[in-house]
Amino acid sequence: MARSRLEKIGTIYSRTKGLIQSGALQWEDRPLWYDLYEAFPPLEEPRFDRPAPNITLKKIFYEEDKIRALLHNRNKHIGTVNMFNNQSHTLTKRFIESYKKLDEQYVGTASEDVLYNETIELLQHERNKPDDDHISLAKSFKEAQQSGNPNIGIKVGDIFKN
């Protein structure tokens, strides 16, 4: 089949179209994608020599990055974060939320240092707070020990009886 192998000139469509127009390729022998290309042309022409557009790369920053930087500048070893965990919030996120709340309470009058220290205190207080619904093996063992001998009502001998 007639074919132009000059992939640096034009596009696959323009080269094939040229062959059809000049009669080197029969309309019936056109490639399968030819109709698809005409019906759904790509958004940009797939030319080898398409120049790079003159766009400046923008930097992504958020407003709360200032607060994030404040925490991370003063604490270099925060620990690893499990990014697959969607259940709980990271320390940084909790810090940012508490910081923003405090800032609202002070109506912007408090300095950065005061807010930072108070937020850290708040987070530490939250961490030390006894968690009521938290169930751990050690805790339930302790509770069982404190309640004395558990009255389960099962005799070992009964288990083997049929």
Partner: protein, 256 residues
């Protein structure tokens, strides 16, 4: 005899005059301007999304599959700039709205190619994700090439396979790079041989000769799994419709 000799001797210039006449000959030029267009006759091509591939995924699916992560900004290929949302502390982030649009167009083309009984080949030179790509190809009844690319498989196929070979109609590159961060040779060879291509182009790839580029992450297994799932679904939709229409046309024949 003399005339014959002259004719053979002058065959080259005769060819040149033929090609010149092809440009000047009004009947041929007229034929060129009135090339038939398949979309006028084919109802499938006049519909913008016949196989409903737009409902295969949402932008949130892309986000959860980590499609938005590019490479570090030092490795950026400048031709990828229009598809990139920005740089977050040195890491490039893709604009998923654009990715979704390009991916939907690519899925549409894949479905139409499958409908027309085209041969589709998946390419990936990443050992970690190669198996899932090969599995996907088997599941949708198409082909995959995830090993070392011997030059000339497309460009010298008649010699390599010992017979005239039908080349694929669509090449889907799940990464357009080979395993040493150079462009896969099959990208160039497809363009040479006039084979349409779909390619997932990461921030360090060149999107230029890919017919239907899709900007997005081409390294994460989750992203590759998503692409495989989507292309498989699109291809199977095309094939199912084809079967449906074949059954319809064969049942219609006796009445005609």
């Amino acid at each position: 005899m003399f005339v014959f000799n002259k004719a053979t001797r002058l065959s080259y210039s005769a060819l040149r005059t033929y090609s010149a006449s092809a440009v000047l000959n009004p009947t041929i030029v007229e034929h060129a301007t009135t090339l038939p267009k398949a979309e006028r006759t084919d109802p499938l091509l006049s519909s913008p999304d016949y196989f409903n591939v737009h409902n295969l995924f949402t932008v949130k699916d892309l986000f959860e599959a980590r499609v938005h992560y590019g490479h570090k900004d030092g490795s950026l290929d400048e031709r990828m700039l229009p598809y990139i949302y920005g740089s977050r502390l040195g890491h490039l982030i893709f604009d998923l709205d654009k990715t979704a649009e390009y991916l939907r167009r690519a899925l549409n083309i894949a479905a139409h190619t499958a409908y027309r009984d085209g041969i589709i080949v998946f390419f990936l030179r990443n050992a970690q994700n190669a198996h899932i790509v090969e599995k996907t190809a088997i599941e949708c009844g198409e082909y995959a090439h995830t090993r070392y690319w011997r030059g000339g498989i497309f460009t010298n196929s008649t010699h390599q396979f010992g017979a005239v070979t039908r080349l694929p109609d669509l090449c889907i590159f799940l990464s357009t790079l080979n395993d040493v961060l150079l462009q896969h040779t099959a990208v160039r060879d497809s363009a040479k041989m006039g084979v349409a291509t779909i390619g997932i182009v990461d921030s360090n790839s060149n999107p230029n000769v890919i017919t239907y580029p899709v900007p997005g992450n081409d390294d994460s297994p989750s992203a590759i799994q998503l692409y495989c799932k989507l292309f498989k679904a699109a291809i199977l939709r095309g094939k199912d419709k084809r079967k449906e229409h074949l059954v319809e046309s064969s049942s219609e024949k006796p009445t005609l």
